[in-house]
């Protein structure tokens, strides 16, 4: 029995996206694909315990889902539509299944389409590609089931009505569209890694794990894309430190004070290998590759080599001079050259980042190192007020108290 349950769980994890993607292509409709896939998995939970696990679970699920979809179309259609449905069924082009032609990739691109709102892209990706239920996604983003259901339905309706195509973008558009997919996956990862909300655990392993799983899938489909490789490396090297990142008192532990014995050596090795692979390619790195490289430096040896980190941030600022990147560079400079130098750079960002807790937290830390305690306390107060992660708030509060 536990064998069956395991087989069902594995089939869901490994085959959901493929079943939805295959059906979406065949029936030209995400709604049909989603419903039929859900029905097929439901049927599997009834049949497999009785009839045994089929030799090829993926094929079994796809066939079952296809039958369910056809049944549904027959049931619901008027005669005209029925005819159209029949034409659809017999008019299947079989495309070669090369890496770039994978239906799951099409599915990812349609879910992360730039014409959809960001929250809809995230929800749709988790539902259609990740196979999470609407309830699970609603819980992950602290909204009502009905709200999340409506968000997903609205996105599907827009895809159908506005004619968002089910295909891999052409070469000219591909880098931009891939970076759109990466933005969605990174957002899911970050919400897991630094979860927001007073009643949320500080780290949401369900979300980080899902983001990594989806990024692994994308990497498998686009092995030559440097930014996808960089993103996977970045996630792995960040996630590797998870166990050391929150103390037994549920407070965030800064990198320098983390117990490196708790880091996941296998993930670090894998992340380092991905970063080395990109370095060996000789192609100029994009922003995710640079962020991965920075995290590789953080996880190399016994302590961070700040000279390398500052050099990598210098490169990153040239690609992306946004205030948040400049803030992170300034923090690296403060470790390398001293608090004074770092603070000068951070203070330049005040007007852009006044509402960003990490800006105040970084200032607070440097002000304290410089012995400016009153100003430091004020900055800690501002940071605590703006922070959304419970472990971060606990850490900042402890830091603030420790100097009183």
């Amino acid at each position: 029995m536990s064998d069956i349950r395991e087989a069902l769980t594995r089939a869901h994890r490994e085959e959901w996206a493929r079943v939805v993607a295959t059906l979406a292509k065949r029936f030209g409709n995400l709604d049909t694909a989603e419903d039929a896939a859900a029905e097929a998995f439901m049927t599997a939970t009834e049949r497999w315990p009785r009839d045994g696990i089929p030799p090829n679970p993926g094929a079994w699920l796809t066939t079952t889902a296809t039958r369910k979809a056809i049944d549904r179309i027959r049931r619901e259609s008027s005669r005209d539509a029925r005819q159209r449905g029949a034409e659809l069924l017999y008019d299947i082009e079989t495309e070669p299944v090369g890496a770039i032609d994978d239906d799951r990739l099409r599915l990812l691109f349609i879910c992360c389409h730039p014409a959809l709102a960001m929250d809809a892209r995230v929800a749709l990706t988790l539902r259609m590609v990740g196979g999470l239920t609407v309830t699970e996604i609603a819980k992950a983003f602290l909204v009502q089931d009905t709200t999340m259901g409506a968000r997903i339905t609205r996105a599907k309706t827009k895809i159908a009505t506005a004619g968002i195509p089910y295909r891999v973008p052409d070469t000219k558009d591909l880098p931009r569209r891939v970076s759109g997919v990466l933005a969605v996956l990174f957002l899911i990862f970050n919400e897991g890694y630094l979860a927001t909300g007073p009643h949320t655990p500080p780290i949401r392993e369900d979300l980080t794990a899902e983001a990594i799983r989806l990024t692994r899938l994308l990497h498998q489909l686009l092995l030559d894309d440097g930014e996808v490789t960089g993103m996977l490396g970045l996630m792995l090297l960040t996630d590797a430190r998870r166990s050391a990142r929150v103390s037994s008192q549920d407070a965030l532990v800064p990198l320098a004070q983390q117990d490196r014995q708790l880091w996941d050596a296998a993930l670090i090795a894998e992340g380092h290998a991905l970063v080395r692979e990109r370095l060996a390619s000789g192609v100029a790195p994009g922003r995710y590759q640079l962020l991965a490289a920075i995290n590789a430096v953080h996880t190399d040896g016994d302590a961070t080599d700040w000279t390398q980190v500052v050099a990598l941030y210098d490169q990153l600022v040239r690609l992306d001079g946004s205030p948040i990147v400049r803030l992170n560079r300034a923090i690296a400079v403060s470790e390398h050259d001293g608090a004074e130098e770092g603070l000068v750079l951070i203070d330049e960002l005040g007007s852009d980042l006044a509402e960003y807790h990490a800006y105040h937290a970084a200032r607070a830390k440097l002000l304290r190192r410089l012995g400016r305690d009153a100003a430091s306390r004020e900055a800690y107060d501002a940071a605590i007020k703006l922070a959304g992660n419970t472990a971060e708030i606990a850490y900042l509060s402890a830091q603030r108290e420790s100097q009183d």
């Binding site: 005209d80 014409a115 009505t161 506005a162 004619g163 968002i164 195509p165 973008p169 558009d173």
Partner: protein
């Protein structure tokens, strides 16, 4: 599919000669590519009249049906196989007319 593209503006009849020339070039491209259906500029929304002909006597009201800070200053109707093609084309259209655009699908006629 067909798409309606609204030209978003907060002024009226504010197009310049350079913009008009760029739009002409862009429209030639739409026609050559088989994407052109129709296009026109619109007079200021304050010149519009709302009709309610549903009752026994028609009621005419002066002014636009909705007061807004921005409105459609013109529009295109184009033919495109899907939204990606429409977005790619009209990104050039946005550049040509030097305005933001809203792309909205027309409902398909009933089969």
């Amino acid at each position: 599919m067909q798409y309606l593209i609204n030209v978003i503006d907060h002024r009226s009849e504010s197009g310049t000669a350079a913009e008009r020339a760029a739009i002409d070039v862009f429209n030639e491209k739409l026609i050559a590519g088989g994407n052109w259906v129709f296009a026109a500029g619109l007079a200021d929304p304050t010149t519009s009249t709302v009709i309610d002909g549903r009752g026994d006597e028609p009621v005419f009201t002066d002014g636009p049906f909705i007061e807004a800070k921005e409105w459609a200053a013109g529009f295109w109707i184009i033919e495109a196989p899907d939204l990606d093609v429409a977005l790619a084309l009209m990104t050039e259209g946005s550049k040509a007319c030097n305005r933001r655009l809203e792309v909205r699908p027309l409902l398909a006629p009933p089969a």
